[in-house]
Symmetry: C2
Subunit: 217 residues, 2 copies
Protein backbone atom coordinates (compact mmCIF):
# COMPACT_ATOMS: atom_id res chain seq x y z
CA UNK A 1 0.00 0.00 0.00
CA UNK A 2 1.37 3.37 -1.01
CA UNK A 3 1.61 6.34 1.30
CA UNK A 4 -0.25 9.50 0.33
CA UNK A 5 3.02 11.01 -0.75
CA UNK A 6 4.00 8.13 -2.97
CA UNK A 7 0.54 8.09 -4.52
CA UNK A 8 1.16 11.53 -5.99
CA UNK A 9 3.94 10.13 -8.09
CA UNK A 10 2.13 6.99 -9.16
CA UNK A 11 1.51 6.83 -12.90
CA UNK A 12 -1.38 4.39 -12.62
CA UNK A 13 -3.22 6.20 -9.84
CA UNK A 14 -2.50 9.66 -11.11
CA UNK A 15 -5.32 12.11 -10.26
CA UNK A 16 -6.97 9.65 -7.94
CA UNK A 17 -7.68 10.57 -4.32
CA UNK A 18 -6.23 8.52 -1.52
CA UNK A 19 -9.66 7.29 -0.53
CA UNK A 20 -10.50 6.25 -4.09
CA UNK A 21 -7.12 4.61 -4.36
CA UNK A 22 -7.86 2.36 -1.40
CA UNK A 23 -11.29 1.51 -2.70
CA UNK A 24 -9.87 0.68 -6.10
CA UNK A 25 -7.37 -1.70 -4.59
CA UNK A 26 -10.21 -3.70 -3.10
CA UNK A 27 -12.72 -3.24 -5.94
CA UNK A 28 -10.20 -4.40 -8.54
CA UNK A 29 -8.64 -6.91 -6.22
CA UNK A 30 -5.39 -5.16 -6.95
CA UNK A 31 -2.29 -6.34 -5.18
CA UNK A 32 0.72 -4.25 -4.35
CA UNK A 33 4.08 -5.78 -3.58
CA UNK A 34 7.65 -4.73 -3.06
CA UNK A 35 10.67 -6.50 -4.46
CA UNK A 36 14.38 -6.55 -3.84
CA UNK A 37 17.08 -6.60 -6.52
CA UNK A 38 17.23 -9.83 -8.53
CA UNK A 39 13.90 -11.05 -7.21
CA UNK A 40 11.47 -12.59 -9.70
CA UNK A 41 8.53 -10.25 -10.13
CA UNK A 42 6.40 -11.99 -12.74
CA UNK A 43 6.65 -15.20 -14.72
CA UNK A 44 3.77 -14.71 -17.19
CA UNK A 45 1.68 -17.46 -15.67
CA UNK A 46 -1.16 -15.22 -14.46
CA UNK A 47 -3.43 -12.87 -16.40
CA UNK A 48 -2.47 -9.94 -14.25
CA UNK A 49 -1.11 -6.69 -15.55
CA UNK A 50 1.73 -5.21 -13.58
CA UNK A 51 2.72 -1.58 -13.28
CA UNK A 52 6.04 -0.44 -11.88
CA UNK A 53 5.31 2.29 -9.35
CA UNK A 54 8.84 2.71 -8.06
CA UNK A 55 12.27 1.31 -8.89
CA UNK A 56 13.39 -0.48 -12.01
CA UNK A 57 12.81 -3.90 -13.54
CA UNK A 58 13.64 -5.74 -16.74
CA UNK A 59 11.65 -8.00 -18.98
CA UNK A 60 13.96 -10.79 -20.09
CA UNK A 61 13.72 -13.76 -22.37
CA UNK A 62 15.47 -17.02 -21.53
CA UNK A 63 15.89 -19.33 -24.50
CA UNK A 64 16.30 -23.10 -24.57
CA UNK A 65 20.03 -22.84 -23.96
CA UNK A 66 19.46 -20.62 -20.95
CA UNK A 67 20.77 -17.46 -22.62
CA UNK A 68 19.06 -14.37 -21.25
CA UNK A 69 18.21 -11.36 -23.39
CA UNK A 70 16.78 -8.09 -22.19
CA UNK A 71 13.59 -7.44 -24.13
CA UNK A 72 12.48 -4.38 -22.25
CA UNK A 73 13.59 -1.98 -19.62
CA UNK A 74 10.76 -1.19 -17.22
CA UNK A 75 11.14 2.05 -15.34
CA UNK A 76 8.50 3.87 -13.31
CA UNK A 77 5.24 3.60 -15.24
CA UNK A 78 6.38 0.51 -17.07
CA UNK A 79 3.61 -2.00 -17.74
CA UNK A 80 3.89 -5.70 -18.42
CA UNK A 81 1.69 -8.77 -18.55
CA UNK A 82 0.84 -11.87 -20.49
CA UNK A 83 -1.74 -10.02 -22.54
CA UNK A 84 0.70 -7.29 -23.45
CA UNK A 85 3.63 -9.34 -24.59
CA UNK A 86 3.80 -12.28 -26.98
CA UNK A 87 2.27 -15.27 -25.27
CA UNK A 88 5.53 -17.18 -25.25
CA UNK A 89 5.67 -17.68 -28.99
CA UNK A 90 8.47 -20.19 -28.68
CA UNK A 91 9.82 -22.70 -26.24
CA UNK A 92 11.67 -20.05 -24.28
CA UNK A 93 10.30 -18.43 -21.18
CA UNK A 94 9.79 -14.85 -20.15
CA UNK A 95 10.41 -13.23 -16.81
CA UNK A 96 10.24 -9.84 -15.19
CA UNK A 97 13.05 -9.45 -12.70
CA UNK A 98 13.82 -6.67 -10.28
CA UNK A 99 16.90 -4.51 -10.91
CA UNK A 100 16.51 -1.79 -8.32
CA UNK A 101 14.09 -2.22 -5.41
CA UNK A 102 10.58 -2.08 -6.82
CA UNK A 103 6.98 -1.42 -5.91
CA UNK A 104 4.62 -3.12 -8.32
CA UNK A 105 0.83 -3.08 -8.58
CA UNK A 106 -0.86 -6.12 -10.07
CA UNK A 107 -4.38 -5.88 -11.46
CA UNK A 108 -6.25 -8.61 -13.21
CA UNK A 109 -6.55 -7.67 -16.86
CA UNK A 110 -10.18 -8.78 -17.12
CA UNK A 111 -11.12 -6.44 -14.29
CA UNK A 112 -9.76 -3.48 -16.15
CA UNK A 113 -11.57 -4.24 -19.38
CA UNK A 114 -14.89 -5.43 -18.02
CA UNK A 115 -17.32 -2.60 -17.51
CA UNK A 116 -17.95 -2.03 -13.87
CA UNK A 117 -21.63 -2.41 -12.99
CA UNK A 118 -21.70 0.65 -10.78
CA UNK A 119 -19.98 2.58 -13.56
CA UNK A 120 -17.78 4.23 -11.03
CA UNK A 121 -15.85 7.33 -11.91
CA UNK A 122 -12.78 5.72 -10.36
CA UNK A 123 -12.87 2.96 -12.91
CA UNK A 124 -12.99 5.39 -15.77
CA UNK A 125 -10.02 7.39 -14.53
CA UNK A 126 -8.00 4.28 -13.90
CA UNK A 127 -8.67 3.03 -17.42
CA UNK A 128 -7.58 6.37 -18.81
CA UNK A 129 -4.37 6.26 -16.83
CA UNK A 130 -3.86 2.74 -18.08
CA UNK A 131 -4.42 3.94 -21.62
CA UNK A 132 -1.75 6.56 -21.14
CA UNK A 133 0.69 3.95 -19.88
CA UNK A 134 -0.11 1.66 -22.79
CA UNK A 135 0.49 4.51 -25.22
CA UNK A 136 3.85 5.12 -23.59
CA UNK A 137 4.67 1.47 -23.86
CA UNK A 138 3.72 1.32 -27.52
CA UNK A 139 5.92 4.32 -28.11
CA UNK A 140 8.86 2.73 -26.35
CA UNK A 141 8.40 -0.47 -28.32
CA UNK A 142 8.18 1.49 -31.56
CA UNK A 143 11.45 3.17 -30.74
CA UNK A 144 13.03 -0.19 -30.08
CA UNK A 145 11.76 -1.52 -33.41
CA UNK A 146 13.16 1.57 -35.08
CA UNK A 147 16.60 0.78 -33.69
CA UNK A 148 16.47 -2.95 -34.32
CA UNK A 149 15.30 -2.58 -37.89
CA UNK A 150 18.55 -0.84 -38.85
CA UNK A 151 20.89 -2.98 -40.89
CA UNK A 152 24.28 -2.36 -39.28
CA UNK A 153 25.66 -1.87 -35.78
CA UNK A 154 26.74 1.63 -36.72
CA UNK A 155 23.23 2.57 -37.83
CA UNK A 156 21.67 0.98 -34.77
CA UNK A 157 23.94 2.93 -32.46
CA UNK A 158 23.40 6.24 -34.20
CA UNK A 159 19.66 5.70 -34.31
CA UNK A 160 19.58 4.97 -30.60
CA UNK A 161 21.81 7.91 -29.78
CA UNK A 162 19.62 10.25 -31.78
CA UNK A 163 16.60 8.99 -29.88
CA UNK A 164 18.22 9.67 -26.54
CA UNK A 165 19.40 13.03 -27.76
CA UNK A 166 15.90 13.92 -28.82
CA UNK A 167 14.36 12.71 -25.57
CA UNK A 168 16.70 14.76 -23.42
CA UNK A 169 16.63 17.67 -25.83
CA UNK A 170 20.41 17.83 -25.82
CA UNK A 171 23.27 16.51 -27.91
CA UNK A 172 24.76 15.21 -24.67
CA UNK A 173 23.05 12.44 -22.73
CA UNK A 174 23.70 9.50 -20.41
CA UNK A 175 22.94 5.89 -21.22
CA UNK A 176 20.23 4.40 -19.01
CA UNK A 177 22.28 1.21 -18.71
CA UNK A 178 25.75 -0.25 -19.14
CA UNK A 179 27.48 -0.71 -22.46
CA UNK A 180 27.10 -4.46 -22.11
CA UNK A 181 23.37 -4.07 -21.74
CA UNK A 182 23.36 -1.68 -24.68
CA UNK A 183 24.80 -4.43 -26.85
CA UNK A 184 21.93 -6.62 -25.71
CA UNK A 185 19.43 -3.87 -26.39
CA UNK A 186 20.54 -3.44 -29.99
CA UNK A 187 20.89 -7.23 -30.31
CA UNK A 188 24.52 -7.43 -31.36
CA UNK A 189 27.78 -8.81 -30.11
CA UNK A 190 29.32 -6.65 -27.43
CA UNK A 191 32.87 -6.71 -28.79
CA UNK A 192 31.65 -5.88 -32.28
CA UNK A 193 29.73 -2.96 -30.83
CA UNK A 194 32.79 -1.73 -28.96
CA UNK A 195 34.78 -1.86 -32.18
CA UNK A 196 32.13 0.17 -34.00
CA UNK A 197 31.97 2.62 -31.10
CA UNK A 198 35.69 3.17 -31.40
CA UNK A 199 35.37 3.94 -35.10
CA UNK A 200 32.55 6.40 -34.41
CA UNK A 201 34.76 8.12 -31.85
CA UNK A 202 37.78 8.17 -34.16
CA UNK A 203 35.89 9.77 -36.99
CA UNK A 204 34.35 12.27 -34.59
CA UNK A 205 30.70 11.26 -34.92
CA UNK A 206 30.43 10.82 -31.17
CA UNK A 207 32.37 11.70 -28.07
CA UNK A 208 32.02 9.64 -24.95
CA UNK A 209 33.13 9.44 -21.36
CA UNK A 210 31.86 6.42 -19.53
CA UNK A 211 28.14 6.29 -20.11
CA UNK A 212 27.92 9.91 -21.15
CA UNK A 213 27.77 10.51 -24.88
CA UNK A 214 27.70 13.53 -27.15
CA UNK A 215 26.74 13.26 -30.78
CA UNK A 216 27.90 15.64 -33.47
CA UNK A 217 25.47 17.89 -35.30
Amino acid sequence: MLSELELEKSPLFHDISYQDYREILSCFQAVQRSFRADELIYDFSSDAVGVVERGQASLIRIDEEGVATVLEDLGVGGVFGKTLAFAGSTGDSLEVVCRHPCDVVFIDYAHILSRCGNACRRHSILVQNMLQLMADKAQALSRRVDVLSRRSIREKLMCYFRQLSQQTGSRTFTLPFSLSTLADYIATDRSAMMRELKRLREEGSVRSDGRQFTIRQ
Copy 2:
Protein backbone atom coordinates in the same frame (compact mmCIF):
# COMPACT_ATOMS: atom_id res chain seq x y z
CA MET B 1 -19.73 7.28 -41.78
CA LEU B 2 -20.19 3.58 -41.21
CA SER B 3 -23.39 1.70 -41.91
CA GLU B 4 -25.06 -0.09 -39.02
CA LEU B 5 -23.76 -3.36 -40.39
CA GLU B 6 -20.16 -2.17 -40.63
CA LEU B 7 -20.36 -0.76 -37.13
CA GLU B 8 -20.80 -4.24 -35.73
CA LYS B 9 -17.37 -5.17 -36.98
CA SER B 10 -15.64 -1.99 -35.92
CA PRO B 11 -12.98 -2.58 -33.28
CA LEU B 12 -13.07 0.97 -31.98
CA PHE B 13 -16.85 1.27 -31.73
CA HIS B 14 -17.43 -2.23 -30.52
CA ASP B 15 -20.46 -2.47 -28.20
CA ILE B 16 -21.58 1.03 -29.02
CA SER B 17 -25.06 1.68 -30.38
CA TYR B 18 -25.53 3.33 -33.73
CA GLN B 19 -26.97 6.42 -32.11
CA ASP B 20 -24.09 6.70 -29.65
CA TYR B 21 -21.67 6.15 -32.49
CA ARG B 22 -23.02 9.17 -34.35
CA GLU B 23 -22.95 11.30 -31.24
CA ILE B 24 -19.40 10.27 -30.52
CA LEU B 25 -18.29 11.28 -33.98
CA SER B 26 -19.49 14.80 -33.34
CA CYS B 27 -18.59 14.96 -29.64
CA PHE B 28 -15.02 13.84 -30.30
CA GLN B 29 -14.83 15.67 -33.59
CA ALA B 30 -13.92 12.32 -35.09
CA VAL B 31 -13.43 12.13 -38.82
CA GLN B 32 -13.95 9.06 -40.94
CA ARG B 33 -12.40 8.74 -44.36
CA SER B 34 -11.94 6.13 -47.06
CA PHE B 35 -8.76 5.58 -49.02
CA ARG B 36 -7.76 3.82 -52.20
CA ALA B 37 -4.64 1.70 -52.65
CA ASP B 38 -1.37 3.65 -52.50
CA GLU B 39 -3.05 6.76 -51.12
CA LEU B 40 -1.33 8.59 -48.27
CA ILE B 41 -3.38 8.13 -45.11
CA TYR B 42 -1.33 9.93 -42.47
CA ASP B 43 1.92 11.83 -42.42
CA PHE B 44 2.39 12.27 -38.64
CA SER B 45 1.87 16.00 -38.77
CA SER B 46 -1.34 16.02 -36.71
CA ASP B 47 -2.02 14.82 -33.17
CA ALA B 48 -4.81 12.53 -34.33
CA VAL B 49 -4.96 8.84 -33.63
CA GLY B 50 -6.08 6.70 -36.54
CA VAL B 51 -7.83 3.36 -36.39
CA VAL B 52 -8.15 1.08 -39.40
CA GLU B 53 -11.80 0.00 -39.54
CA ARG B 54 -11.59 -1.85 -42.84
CA GLY B 55 -8.88 -2.78 -45.35
CA GLN B 56 -5.14 -2.78 -44.86
CA ALA B 57 -2.42 -0.19 -44.50
CA SER B 58 1.29 -0.03 -43.75
CA LEU B 59 3.38 2.21 -41.59
CA ILE B 60 6.59 2.93 -43.48
CA ARG B 61 9.76 4.83 -42.78
CA ILE B 62 11.53 6.76 -45.52
CA ASP B 63 15.13 7.57 -44.72
CA GLU B 64 17.34 10.34 -46.04
CA GLU B 65 18.24 8.37 -49.16
CA GLY B 66 14.57 7.72 -49.90
CA VAL B 67 14.71 4.04 -48.98
CA ALA B 68 11.37 2.83 -47.62
CA THR B 69 11.09 0.27 -44.83
CA VAL B 70 7.90 -1.30 -43.55
CA LEU B 71 7.74 -0.67 -39.82
CA GLU B 72 4.28 -2.05 -39.21
CA ASP B 73 1.49 -3.82 -40.95
CA LEU B 74 -1.86 -2.30 -40.01
CA GLY B 75 -4.85 -4.58 -40.47
CA VAL B 76 -8.36 -4.07 -39.15
CA GLY B 77 -8.05 -2.70 -35.65
CA GLY B 78 -4.60 -1.31 -36.30
CA VAL B 79 -3.89 1.97 -34.53
CA PHE B 80 -1.34 4.61 -35.42
CA GLY B 81 -0.51 8.18 -34.56
CA LYS B 82 2.22 10.61 -33.66
CA THR B 83 1.78 9.93 -29.97
CA LEU B 84 2.02 6.18 -30.47
CA ALA B 85 5.11 5.96 -32.61
CA PHE B 86 8.49 7.59 -32.18
CA ALA B 87 8.16 11.25 -32.93
CA GLY B 88 10.46 11.08 -35.96
CA SER B 89 13.56 10.41 -33.92
CA THR B 90 15.79 11.02 -36.92
CA GLY B 91 15.80 12.97 -40.12
CA ASP B 92 13.66 10.42 -41.90
CA SER B 93 9.93 10.71 -42.28
CA LEU B 94 7.08 8.36 -41.45
CA GLU B 95 3.96 7.67 -43.46
CA VAL B 96 0.92 5.49 -43.29
CA VAL B 97 -0.08 4.38 -46.77
CA CYS B 98 -3.06 2.41 -47.98
CA ARG B 99 -2.47 -1.10 -49.30
CA HIS B 100 -6.00 -2.35 -49.75
CA PRO B 101 -8.96 0.08 -49.79
CA CYS B 102 -9.34 1.39 -46.26
CA ASP B 103 -11.78 3.04 -43.92
CA VAL B 104 -10.01 4.98 -41.21
CA VAL B 105 -11.33 6.88 -38.18
CA PHE B 106 -9.28 9.81 -36.91
CA ILE B 107 -9.77 11.08 -33.39
CA ASP B 108 -7.76 13.79 -31.73
CA TYR B 109 -5.61 12.20 -29.05
CA ALA B 110 -6.27 14.90 -26.49
CA HIS B 111 -10.01 14.31 -26.81
CA ILE B 112 -9.62 10.69 -25.86
CA LEU B 113 -7.52 11.36 -22.80
CA SER B 114 -9.23 14.44 -21.46
CA ARG B 115 -12.04 13.60 -19.12
CA CYS B 116 -15.35 14.53 -20.67
CA GLY B 117 -17.24 17.03 -18.51
CA ASN B 118 -20.56 15.26 -18.89
CA ALA B 119 -18.82 12.02 -17.94
CA CYS B 120 -20.71 10.22 -20.64
CA ARG B 121 -20.90 6.45 -20.67
CA ARG B 122 -19.98 6.56 -24.37
CA HIS B 123 -16.66 8.10 -23.57
CA SER B 124 -15.83 5.41 -21.08
CA ILE B 125 -16.64 2.57 -23.49
CA LEU B 126 -14.65 4.20 -26.27
CA VAL B 127 -11.63 4.55 -24.01
CA GLN B 128 -11.90 0.90 -23.05
CA ASN B 129 -12.05 -0.16 -26.70
CA MET B 130 -9.07 2.05 -27.34
CA LEU B 131 -7.25 0.35 -24.47
CA GLN B 132 -7.93 -3.02 -26.03
CA LEU B 133 -6.55 -1.84 -29.36
CA MET B 134 -3.48 -0.41 -27.68
CA ALA B 135 -2.91 -3.71 -25.91
CA ASP B 136 -3.12 -5.50 -29.25
CA LYS B 137 -0.68 -3.05 -30.73
CA ALA B 138 1.77 -3.47 -27.89
CA GLN B 139 1.53 -7.21 -28.35
CA ALA B 140 2.22 -6.96 -32.07
CA LEU B 141 5.19 -4.71 -31.41
CA SER B 142 6.50 -7.09 -28.78
CA ARG B 143 6.35 -9.92 -31.27
CA ARG B 144 8.26 -7.84 -33.76
CA VAL B 145 10.92 -7.04 -31.17
CA ASP B 146 11.12 -10.73 -30.36
CA VAL B 147 11.93 -11.50 -33.99
CA LEU B 148 14.29 -8.59 -34.51
CA SER B 149 16.27 -9.28 -31.35
CA ARG B 150 17.41 -12.66 -32.70
CA ARG B 151 21.02 -12.73 -33.76
CA SER B 152 20.94 -14.58 -37.09
CA ILE B 153 18.67 -14.70 -40.13
CA ARG B 154 17.94 -18.33 -39.43
CA GLU B 155 16.78 -17.58 -35.90
CA LYS B 156 14.72 -14.61 -37.04
CA LEU B 157 12.94 -16.71 -39.63
CA MET B 158 12.21 -19.60 -37.29
CA CYS B 159 11.03 -17.23 -34.58
CA TYR B 160 8.64 -15.54 -36.98
CA PHE B 161 7.42 -18.84 -38.36
CA ARG B 162 6.73 -20.14 -34.89
CA GLN B 163 4.75 -17.01 -34.12
CA LEU B 164 2.59 -17.46 -37.20
CA SER B 165 2.19 -21.14 -36.45
CA GLN B 166 1.03 -20.32 -32.95
CA GLN B 167 -1.35 -17.60 -34.12
CA THR B 168 -3.05 -19.85 -36.64
CA GLY B 169 -2.85 -22.85 -34.35
CA SER B 170 -1.39 -24.96 -37.12
CA ARG B 171 2.03 -25.98 -38.33
CA THR B 172 0.97 -24.79 -41.78
CA PHE B 173 0.31 -21.10 -42.42
CA THR B 174 0.46 -18.44 -45.10
CA LEU B 175 2.67 -15.37 -44.99
CA PRO B 176 0.69 -12.13 -44.75
CA PHE B 177 3.03 -10.55 -47.29
CA SER B 178 5.60 -11.32 -49.99
CA LEU B 179 9.02 -12.81 -49.35
CA SER B 180 10.61 -9.51 -50.29
CA THR B 181 8.54 -7.76 -47.66
CA LEU B 182 9.42 -10.50 -45.20
CA ALA B 183 13.08 -9.67 -45.68
CA ASP B 184 12.18 -6.09 -44.85
CA TYR B 185 10.20 -7.18 -41.83
CA ILE B 186 13.06 -9.11 -40.33
CA ALA B 187 15.48 -6.34 -41.39
CA THR B 188 17.90 -8.38 -43.46
CA ASP B 189 19.12 -8.63 -47.01
CA ARG B 190 16.66 -10.42 -49.26
CA SER B 191 19.19 -12.61 -51.05
CA ALA B 192 20.75 -13.66 -47.77
CA MET B 193 17.33 -14.55 -46.47
CA MET B 194 16.56 -16.63 -49.57
CA ARG B 195 19.79 -18.50 -49.10
CA GLU B 196 18.97 -19.25 -45.48
CA LEU B 197 15.46 -20.28 -46.50
CA LYS B 198 16.94 -22.76 -48.93
CA ARG B 199 19.09 -24.27 -46.20
CA LEU B 200 16.11 -24.59 -43.87
CA ARG B 201 14.22 -26.37 -46.64
CA GLU B 202 17.16 -28.65 -47.45
CA GLU B 203 17.60 -29.79 -43.88
CA GLY B 204 13.84 -30.29 -43.55
CA SER B 205 13.10 -27.65 -40.92
CA VAL B 206 10.47 -26.07 -43.13
CA ARG B 207 8.55 -26.91 -46.26
CA SER B 208 7.21 -24.16 -48.45
CA ASP B 209 5.13 -23.58 -51.54
CA GLY B 210 4.86 -19.97 -52.53
CA ARG B 211 3.80 -18.09 -49.43
CA GLN B 212 2.55 -21.18 -47.67
CA PHE B 213 4.89 -22.64 -45.12
CA THR B 214 4.93 -25.68 -42.88
CA ILE B 215 7.34 -26.00 -40.00
CA ARG B 216 8.53 -29.30 -38.61
CA GLN B 217 7.74 -30.41 -35.04
